[in-house]
């Protein structure tokens, strides 16, 4: 590359980095100036504000950081190897500007933004890189992420490990195959840390730590069901999970629970389904609030689905523990990339039978095919039951806010019909 090109690229990066900071700090300002902001929530907001580079996260947690492309990999395994798993996500609208010219016009904007952020060298700006990358093969965009990193000129080349995800979950062969993958992941983590063996007591301890996180998080979910936890705060709390040590985060969630407990129930209630939402792009949640819609349930992998649920085991051998983990992460996951996934649709529909919500708002990021395709099945099923459904397709842009708001306001009126 010529010096001129280098200069231009440098200037562009600098501009985008400035705007990246603006976008983040603007959202932080909005969060902190909300009337329902409380000191107990500061911890989570500060985690999101404090940067997502491996150096910062490693300094905070005292562990080397491994980048994770999806939640499918058992977090407990990273923990027992003394590592901090960090889910890579792109939430900034501006970061896409760096990666977009090299990428397909219609692609997952969340990943396009993530690639832009990586291109900004956020990952390595403080002199420390991710120790490794782990990619469960969920959707097509995630599967091709390594190629796209190369196309975007992201030169960081740490060890890269793919976890092949069997997309049929109810088949024994698939479950066995997934267990093999979990063993392969263990081998990879052992190789990058140089730790030949892990003690089963240590694995059980790590599992216990994450179980506690899940337990406290499920208390927060229960509160949300009563309409007391605004989705924006729920998202901030769940988004921040990967930014700190699981135990510290859990303690902070415990402290935040009474804040929400004191609040009153708010109506009308909706189920938010579809593509994930990541800080600082909380556009959809702001619009939902502006339209007077209160989210009591969601199934976003950036929100209620960050944990696969409780892990049960009665076999305390290392194999028994790994098997329990593998099962939970495969069976408990409700990602639309699975083929036999009636459970996911039923999970959304079942609460409607108990009148736990009045309608579904389905959020689709343009280019996110798994969720887009699934919305068709869900729409038919819900409408056949006489339930309200609205699909909102959006991109990482603020231009469409007005039309989205119009739809949400009209949708809100239909909930009473």
């Amino acid at each position: 590359m010529s010096n001129n090109q280098d200069d231009r690229e440098g200037r562009l990066k600098k501009k985008i980095l400035d705007r990246f900071d603006d976008e983040t700090s603007q959202e932080i300002k909005i969060l902190k100036s909300r009337p329902d902001f409380r000191p107990e929530l500061e911890y989570f907001v500060d985690l999101l504000a404090g940067g997502r580079d491996p150096a910062t996260i490693s300094a905070r947690t005292g562990r080397p950081v491994v980048a994770l492309m999806c939640l499918q990999a058992p977090l407990e395994l990273f923990h027992v190897y003394g590592l901090q798993p960090f889910k890579i996500f792109g939430g900034t609208m501006v970061a896409q500007r760096l990666s977009a010219p090299q990428l397909p016009a219609i692609m997952c904007p969340m990943l396009r933004s993530a690639l832009g952020e990586l291109h900004l060298d956020l990952a390595g700006s403080k002199g420390q890189k991710f120790l490794a990358w782990v990619t469960p093969t969920t959707c097509d965009w995630v599967v091709k992420i390594q190629d796209m990193m190369e196309v975007c000129g992201i030169t960081e080349k740490p060890p890269f490990h793919r976890l092949e995800l069997p997309h049929l979950k109810d088949r024994t062969e698939s479950q066995d195959r997934w267990l093999e993958e979990v063993y392969l992941l263990r081998g990879f983590l052992s190789q990058i840390t140089g730790k030949k063996k892990i003690r089963r007591q240590d694995l059980a301890r790590s599992m216990n730590i994450y179980q506690k996180s899940w337990h406290v998080f499920s208390n927060l979910i229960d509160l949300k069901r009563t309409g007391r936890v605004p989705e924006i705060w729920f998202m901030v709390i769940s988004n921040s999970f990967f930014f700190d040590d699981a135990e510290k985060w859990t303690e902070s969630v415990k402290k935040a629970l009474p804040v929400f407990n004191k609040r009153e129930k708010a109506l009308p209630d909706i189920f938010l389904a579809g593509s994930p939402i990541f800080f600082p792009n909380l556009k959809m949640l702001h619009l939902l609030e502006e339209a007077g819609l209160n989210v009591v349930m969601d199934d976003l992998c950036s929100s209620e689905r960050i944990f696969p649920g409780a892990v049960y085991f009665d076999d305390f051998s290392e194999h028994g523990l790994l098997k329990a983990l593998a099962q939970r992460y495969h069976q408990g996951c409700l990602c639309p990339t699975f083929s036999d996934n009636d459970r996911r649709i039923n999970n959304i529909i079942a609460p409607a039978h108990k009148d736990l919500y009045k309608g579904v708002v389905f959020h689709v990021l343009k280019g996110c095919h798994p969720f887009d395709l699934e919305s068709l099945t869900l729409e038919c099923r819900l409408k056949d039951m006489g339930l309200k459904f609205i699909k909102l397709e959006t991109d990482y842009t603020s231009e469409d806010s007005q039309t989205l708001l119009t739809r949400l306001e009209a949708y809100r009126n239909t909930l009473a019909n």
């Binding site: 409408k383 231009e399 007005q402 119009t406 306001e409």
Partner: protein, 257 residues
């Protein structure tokens, strides 16, 4: 006393109705420009003066449309989908089950139940295909006033197959058709059909109304060529009320009830 004002602050025009006893007594529209509230208040003043009223005769101002939040003097605001539904239900005397609304920058399909409440609705994306903006753009490239589109498309036997409803692609397609000497009448007819197909697609087979009537409203609904193309594509009768661009503003006054 007893008058209500309905203002629809849309992306291309501000429409206003003066209503008494749920009947439109005065209506007017002006193009949208910066300073929407001032423009709207000019309309209000015009209505009051022309009808020999004073401001105390106005009981309520209802605002809808993209600019509704800019109207600080509005007694209440309502989204344009709900306003459209209420307006057409009333004006069609309960016969309407589906509304196709073509706005300046969007396209909406709204299904109503027998009580006139919204059962379902669909809206196009950010794309301006099939909207008022699309027709304006086409009129500019064809150098033909929009008002003539209806009569001109009637002169063509067969519509031309246009591949794009995208404003940008349609522009180059029309330019190249003109260069090939294709008569404007056929191009216009082709445009109507391509927009009609897009509307049919938005309507979707699941959403084709069972019973009740389909109404077209919004500015472009006054174009008989589009209406004909739509009926052709849908294989159904599509109705248009007098002054279809004021339905939404009127519906806003009803929502004040």
């Amino acid at each position: 006393m007893g008058y209500k004002i309905g203002l629809d602050l849309g992306s291309t025009a501000i429409k206003m109705v003066l209503v008494k006893n749920n009947e439109i007594t005065w209506s007017r529209k002006v193009p949208t420009a910066p300073g929407q509230e001032a423009l709207a208040m000019e309309l209000v003043k015009g209505a009051v003066n022309e009808c020999g009223l004073s401001e105390v005769d106005i009981d309520h101002i209802a605002a809808t449309g993209y600019g509704k939040k800019l109207m600080s003097s509005a007694g209440h605001t309502v989204d344009e989908i709900s306003a459209n539904a209420q307006g057409l239900h009333w004006l069609s005397e309960g016969r309407c089950r589906t509304i196709i609304n073509i706005g300046g920058q969007d396209l909406k399909v709204i299904n109503l139940n027998e009580k006139g409440l919204i059962a379902d609705f669909k809206m196009n994306d950010k794309c301006a295909a099939g909207t008022g903006r699309f027709f304006e753009q086409a009129a500019r490239i064809l150098d033909t006033p929009l008002e003539k589109f209806g009569e001109m498309s009637k002169l063509a036997d067969e519509p031309l197959e246009l591949n794009s409803t995208c404003v940008v692609f349609a522009e180059s397609e029309i330019v190249s058709l003109l260069a090939k000497g294709v008569p404007k009448e056929r191009i216009i007819k082709g445009l109507h059909h391509s927009v009609a197909r897009r509307i049919t697609h938005l309507l979707g087979s699941r959403n084709t109304p069972k019973g009740g009537d389909i109404y077209l409203d919004g500015g472009p609904s006054q174009n008989p060529g589009l209406l004909e193309a739509l009926e052709d594509e849908l294989l159904m009768e599509v109705k248009v009320l007098p002054n279809p661009q004021f339905t939404v503003a009127f519906g806003a006054t009803l929502s004040a009830n």
